[in-house]
């Protein structure tokens, strides 16, 4: 733990100068509309200076170069006839090159966001009054260099380190045998009851692991719960039907279920034909699962994982077929439908908690405790943010609004 804080301190020391220079960014000049200028033949004075440098203030891919200049003496004062500046960029010294942009009068800074990283560029700038340009000022060469750390995302890193440290700590504590309290999750017992009822009725259990791909963490949580459910059905010799919408999820589900049947010592009861790939197409899948519900009459329908609009199609058909239904998802938009149409619903984080809880492995329970403490940290930070806003420390809140 102490080492983590040392690292944090070092990182904080590194951010301080970067944070200071961030303020300069905010000072963008205000462009005022200028009165129409009469045509004349006298060119305005040229810009009084031109400097170019790699854009450093925000970490970038090396695709940005910052250009600054001094206003022409006739911009805003003198003859007061400058209507704008023309900035050009070239690959060789002395060439005018391509026009990058036309910039309004009164502006002294431009960021070229279209450079190739590592390529050296020359810039030149003229002022003009609508009819004639001034003399040209030159600068360069300079090249954009890629940064190794995205400082604008520093706050993300800090919170990640804090979160991971807490998870690691509680996992270690739990691993040493400390008893961790975990509150009852209502939907969990319902899963076992539902499977039990299906067994009594001699009807199958239907387990839908959502239509998410296997890279979706909800699907992974679902496969965890599937392993638990498969162990119960293996023990009671209840058929377990697992329809899937993704081929990889199907093959993972096959492994999970086969493994569970083997562990319980009933490998012969495993029926590979019950782990089915139906369709990658959302409603083709939903339609086919509805068919299974009506024709194979499962007595328990478990929906765990990532669901989209098909949630209610499944849950309403399942209700009509008379099955006990337990759902679990972190898809916020679908929760209302599962909550209304199913007997029990694992909401949001409960899905992940359930998967950790079922395993009863202390290592996994440590993660739950870590998440809880992260909630406390988040609430504390919101409170701190409210106070900071009240006393005018807007930069504290801005620190969280990264991009």
């Amino acid at each position: 733990m102490r080492r983590v804080f040392h690292i944090l301190l070092v990182l904080l020391a590194l951010i301080a100068p970067a944070a200071g220079s961030l303020e300069a960014l905010e000072a963008t000049p205000i462009i005022e509309e200028t009165e129409p200028v009469l045509l004349d033949v006298v060119p305005p004075g040229p810009p009084c200076s031109l400097t170019v440098r790699d854009y450093l203030e925000n970490s970038d891919f090396g695709d940005k170069i910052e250009i600054e200049w001094g206003l022409s003496p006739d911009d805003g004062s003198g003859a007061c006839d400058v209507t704008g500046y023309i900035l050009s960029r070239a690959l060789a010294e002395g060439e005018v090159g391509e026009v990058l942009d036309e910039i309004s009068s009164g502006v002294t800074r431009y960021i070229d966001e279209s450079v190739e990283p590592g390529v050296e560029y020359y810039y030149n700038l003229v002022s003009h009054d609508g009819t004639s340009p001034s003399g040209r000022v030159w600068a360069g060469p300079t090249a954009g260099r890629a940064n190794l750390f995205q400082w604008s995302r520093f706050s993300v890193l800090v919170l990640m380190v804090v979160f991971f440290a807490m998870v690691a700590r509680f996992t270690a504590v739990a691993g040493k045998g400390a008893k961790l309290f975990v509150r009852r999750i209502p939907g969990l017992n319902a899963i076992e009851e539902a499977v039990g009822r299906a067994t009594e009725m001699g009807r199958p259990v239907l387990y839908v692991p959502g239509i998410g791909e296997i890279d979706n963490i909800m699907t992974i949580a679902s496969l965890n719960i599937l392993s638990h459910v498969a162990k119960i059905t293996a023990r009671y010799d209840t058929p377990l039907i697992v329809p899937t919408a993704r081929a990889v999820v199907m093959s993972a589900a096959e492994e999970v279920v086969k493994q569970a049947y083997t562990e319980v010592g009933n490998p012969d009861a495993y029926n590979p034909d019950n782990i089915r790939y139906l369709s990658d197409a959302q409603f083709a899948f939903a339609g086919a699962v509805n068919g299974i519900m009506l024709r194979e009459k499962p007595a328990a329908n478990l929906y765990m994982g990532a669901f989209w609009a098909e949630s209610l199609l499944l849950a309403e058909t399942g209700f009509e077929a008379g099955a006990i239904q337990v759902a679990g998802t972190a898809m916020v938009s679908q929760l209302p439908f599962f909550v209304t149409a199913c007997d029990f619903t694992l909401m949001g984080e409960e899905l992940y908690a359930a998967s950790a809880y079922l395993s009863r492995e202390p290592k996994l329970l440590g993660g739950l405790k870590g998440s809880d403490w992260m909630k406390v940290v988040s609430i504390a930070l919101i409170a701190a943010g409210i106070i900071a806003r009240a006393v005018g420390l807007e930069s504290f809140v801005a620190w969280f609004q990264t991009q």
Binding site: M160, V182, D280, S378, G385, F400
Partner: protein, 211 residues
């Protein structure tokens, strides 16, 4: 004439799906099996032509697609072999002895995407939310918003007993959750009805010309 035939087929298929609302029947079963078969063929072809051919087959076998020579002249063509092999490894599961090798590709895929997801989630769902909720407590609505968030978050405390202050907050959280669920349920009705209006006007307008 051709349009009439195809519209009629479309209408019959539409009605077949709706017949499911009455009860399961041969028309629905036909429509269901049709859609599963078409999508299986469709995705097999689309996945091949959109991912496998341009990214693996073309660079490795130096294929030309149209006038474009993909992979020809690229010194990095062998990189395309890696995903190709990873994809093939998935099929080792049919050989019990080597089945474990298939886990390599699955491991790369899942591990990669797990890592990919972590930081953006921390940023968008935690960090930015902290910023968005650090609101000045000057209006009732802001207080309301923050109390609701606090309650909902408390409901999701797993390792602490919901007693005392935590119990009250968790209960507030449940009330907010229920109001939120009711509201988004009600909010969604309109878009679902729009879908039905769309299908009904296909039947009444395009097919029967009644409106």
């Amino acid at each position: 004439m051709a349009t009439i035939i195809w519209t009629t087929i479309g209408a019959i298929l539409t009605l077949s799906v709706y017949s499911f609302l009455y009860k399961d029947n041969p028309f629905y079963k036909f429509a269901e099996h049709l859609v599963v078969g078409i999508s299986a063929g469709y995705y097999l072809v689309i996945y091949y032509f959109n991912f496998i051919q341009p990214n693996v087959v073309a660079p490795v076998f130096l294929l030309r697609i149209g006038n474009e020579a993909i992979g020809l002249g690229s010194s990095m063509w062998w990189l395309a072999l890696i995903p190709g092999i990873l994809g093939l490894l998935l099929y080792t599961r049919f050989f019990p002895k080597f089945g474990w090798v298939g886990r390599w590709s699955l491991g790369i895929y899942v591990g990669g995407y797990a890592g990919l997801g972590l930081s953006p989630i921390m940023q968008a769902r935690v960090l930015n939310q902290i910023g968005a909720n650090a609101l000045p407590l000057t209006s009732i609505t802001n207080v309301f918003l923050i109390v609701g968030l606090l309650g909902t978050l408390t409901y999701f405390f797993f390792s602490m007993k919901h007693k005392g202050v935590l119990g009250v907050l968790a209960r507030v959280g449940i009330v907010f959750l229920m109001v939120g669920f009711g509201a988004s349920f009600g909010y969604t009705v309109m878009s679902r009805v729009s879908l039905l209006i769309g299908r009904v006007s296909f039947l009444l307008h395009d097919w029967l010309h009644l409106i």
